[in-house]
Amino acid sequence: MNITVKEILLSSALMILALAAVLVINATGQQTRVADTDSLTFATLPTIYGCLLLLLSAIFFAGSLRRFLSDKHRDHPETTEDAETDSPSSRTVLTRIGLTLVVLVAYVVLLDYVQFLVVTSLFLFVMFWVFGQRSLWKMAALALLGGACFHGLFIYVLDLPI
């Protein structure tokens, strides 16, 4: 994805977040005061931060949009910061990132239901596969060893209640 498109999306998300923050904090019905007769209330600084974030994000958005439009007019080829000649393709990288996120969330969910050693070893095995390893024996051995080490460290030594 073009970096300016990423910036446009990010700045839009930040503007929405900032607006939501300003509206939600005020939705409690209490007054925000920046007066010299009353002290700051609980909502004053969050409102100021929200407004600042809205302003800064809007400037960021405007700058990114201007760059995007001027690049388009000059017919610049799309540049991605991930383009390297000897690295995995962007599609592979994005797929790996997406799968990593999904597997990580699944790991956390399963920790509550499945025994720690089992789910951790499984997680390691799956992640080795996601990251491109294909030697099943090596993956299985490392996954079991890693799971055992984590189990020993966090359950027995650190006594983590998991």
């Binding site: 910036e7 990010l10 931060y49 800064l56 990288v93 990593t100 996120l101």
Partner: protein, 503 residues
């Protein structure tokens, strides 16, 4: 001052602390040697392991990692032309050509000695400045502390590697995130949406794990599978003779001064200081054209700067509670998690911890030299390993680290969320260290502003009532104004060039 420092050494030389410091330093060199891994990531992975420790052993382990990564980053820079840490990028300019000429061992020797002497220089400066600054800082009032916090955030925004706009966005977002939870004065809920888990605010450790652990793994996934042909035969360190080193004393002094001075400025980090020191050493050299062709001076200066930085970052961290870089930001978080209150009163309330940290810095530097000198061939083996074996372990450490901060799964989801946010931020050029600093300093600033106003009967002029406060306000306004002026000037030049007007 010396009595306190001697007590600090006595604490550090206890067997457990010594072992942890040694292990941390060795681990730090290992992590630094792996391109893509960083000191903040290594420290954040360590964080859950330190929950059961006392504060001092935990912090000493982190100090060891912090110091070790500075040297470790030079190994791939010299051997692969790929810096292990961003701060070691400069070392590759002369280190790699030396390695290509068959002088890899000598280049590594210069890097090791440069790091050691730079680290000692930085330590001397830290030991001198910390007690002095702490004695001034403890006299600060609430208004002073609030302004110092704002100055810290402004400095970060102004000097961070991205534009000031991006820096400010990160800082303000961090400040906003820090308001989640109960208001510090009135205990009113803010942004909790009825969830009691949010009443204590966003779990700080989880945010750190997300930003410096999970986000970095996401960013470095593109490096999986990349390998370079590197030195296969055994490699030994070749220390230069004392005479050869003494001839190049200026490089060490330049590196030490820049590393300490720039390291003390929050947010700048070691990267900028190494380049500035390199350029200065080159400009002062009788043969500036030789820089970049593989000369020892080109390795000595940046490596000395790199490790002198560790002393520089300690000064604002221990005296003002303002971290100098990402690693010290996590160490500050670790202090809070272990019940210490960083800030202007740290020296007063926990002076023995401060002195022990300073003592640990020197001992870690000496350990770094010994380990680097004797074990370098083992660290080189690490460079050959694919990250696909390493990243899953880091993710497990990150998940469990977040879990152990509250013994619940909520912080883990928070860490994953901030991992995604951090990944997008870094890919758009917004450094996550700005967000982290906003999260750390936000509550301090808000609490002190509101107390200062309450004590002055809501008189806002209290923030310019004394000359130190006026200076701080001038610094804030001046920095913001200067950056806006530079941005405007840069844009005007671009418009002139675009329109083809030449004056």
């Amino acid at each position: 001052m010396f009595a306190g420092l001697i007590d600090g050494f006595a604490s550090v030389l206890e067997p457990l602390n010594l072992v942890l410091l040694f292990a941390g330093t060795a681990g730090g060199i290992l992590v630094g040697a792996l391109p893509g891994l960083s000191s903040p990531m290594a420290i954040i992975v360590l964080l859950p392991l330190t929950y059961s420790m006392d504060a001092l052993p935990a912090l000493l382990t982190m100090i060891g990692v912090y110091v070790g990564t500075k040297l470790g980053g030079s190994y791939p820079a010299i051997l692969l032309r790929t810096p292990g840490t961003p701060a070691a990028a400069c070392t590759a300019l002369d280190g790699f050509p030396m390695a290509q000429r068959g002088e890899a061992g000598l280049a590594l020797g210069y890097a090791t000695l440069g790091s050691t002497f730079g680290g000692i220089f930085g330590w001397v400066m830290a030991v001198t400045c910390v007690p002095l600054l702490a004695s001034v800082a403890v006299k600060s009032s609430n208004a002073d502390i609030a302004l110092i916090g704002i100055v810290g955030l402004t400095l970060v925004s102004a000097f961070v590697r991205a534009s000031m706009l991006r820096g400010l966005i990160g800082v303000v977002l961090g400040l906003l995130i820090a308001t989640v939870g109960l208001d510090p004065i009135q205990s009113t809920e803010r942004f909790t949406f009825g969830f009691y888990t949010l009443m204590e605010g966003i779990p700080f450790a989880a945010a750190l794990v997300g930003f410096f652990g999970i986000a970095v793994v996401f960013s470095d996934i593109k490096m999986i599978g990349q390998r370079s042909s590197l030195v296969v035969k055994e490699l030994n360190l070749a220390l230069p003779t004392f005479r050869d080193l003494a001839k190049r004393w200026q490089c060490i002094v330049i590196g030490g001064l820049y590393g300490t001075g720039i390291g003390a400025i929050p947010g700048v980090g070691a990267e900028a200081s190494t380049w500035i020191a390199y350029a200065t050493a080159r400009n002062r050299s009788k043969n500036p054209e030789a820089f970049g062709t593989g000369i020892p001076e080109g390795v000595l200066a940046p490596e000395a700067t790199n490790n002198a930085n560790t002393g520089g970052t300690m000064v604002p961290m221990l005296t003002l509670g303002i971290p100098g870089d990402g690693s010290t930001a996590i160490m500050l978080g670790a202090m809070i998690l272990h019940g210490l209150q960083p800030g202007v009163t740290l020296m007063q309330s926990n002076g023995h911890i401060v002195n022990a940290i300073l003592a640990g810095l020197l001992v870690a530097t000496l350990f770094m030299f010994l380990i680097g000198w004797s074990c370098i061939r083992y660290f080189i083996v690490v460079l050959q390993q694919d990250r696909s074996w390493l990243f899953p372990f880091i993710l497990v450490f990150a998940a469990l680290g977040a879990y152990s901060s509250m013994n619940s799964f909520f912080p883990v989801y928070v860490a994953i969320f901030f991992g995604v946010v951090g990944f997008f931020f870094e890919s758009c050029g917004i450094p996550v260290v700005t967000v982290v600093l906003g999260i750390i300093l936000g509550p301090i600033i808000e609490q002190n502003i509101r107390i200062a106003l309450a004590l002055s009967d809501n008189d806002w002029t209290t923030f310019v009532a004394t000359w130190p406060r006026q200076v701080l306000v001038v610094v804030i306004v001046g920095l913001l104004g200067w950056e806006m002026f530079k941005a405007f000037q840069g844009r005007s030049m671009n418009e002139i060039n675009t329109k083809g007007d030449v004056s």
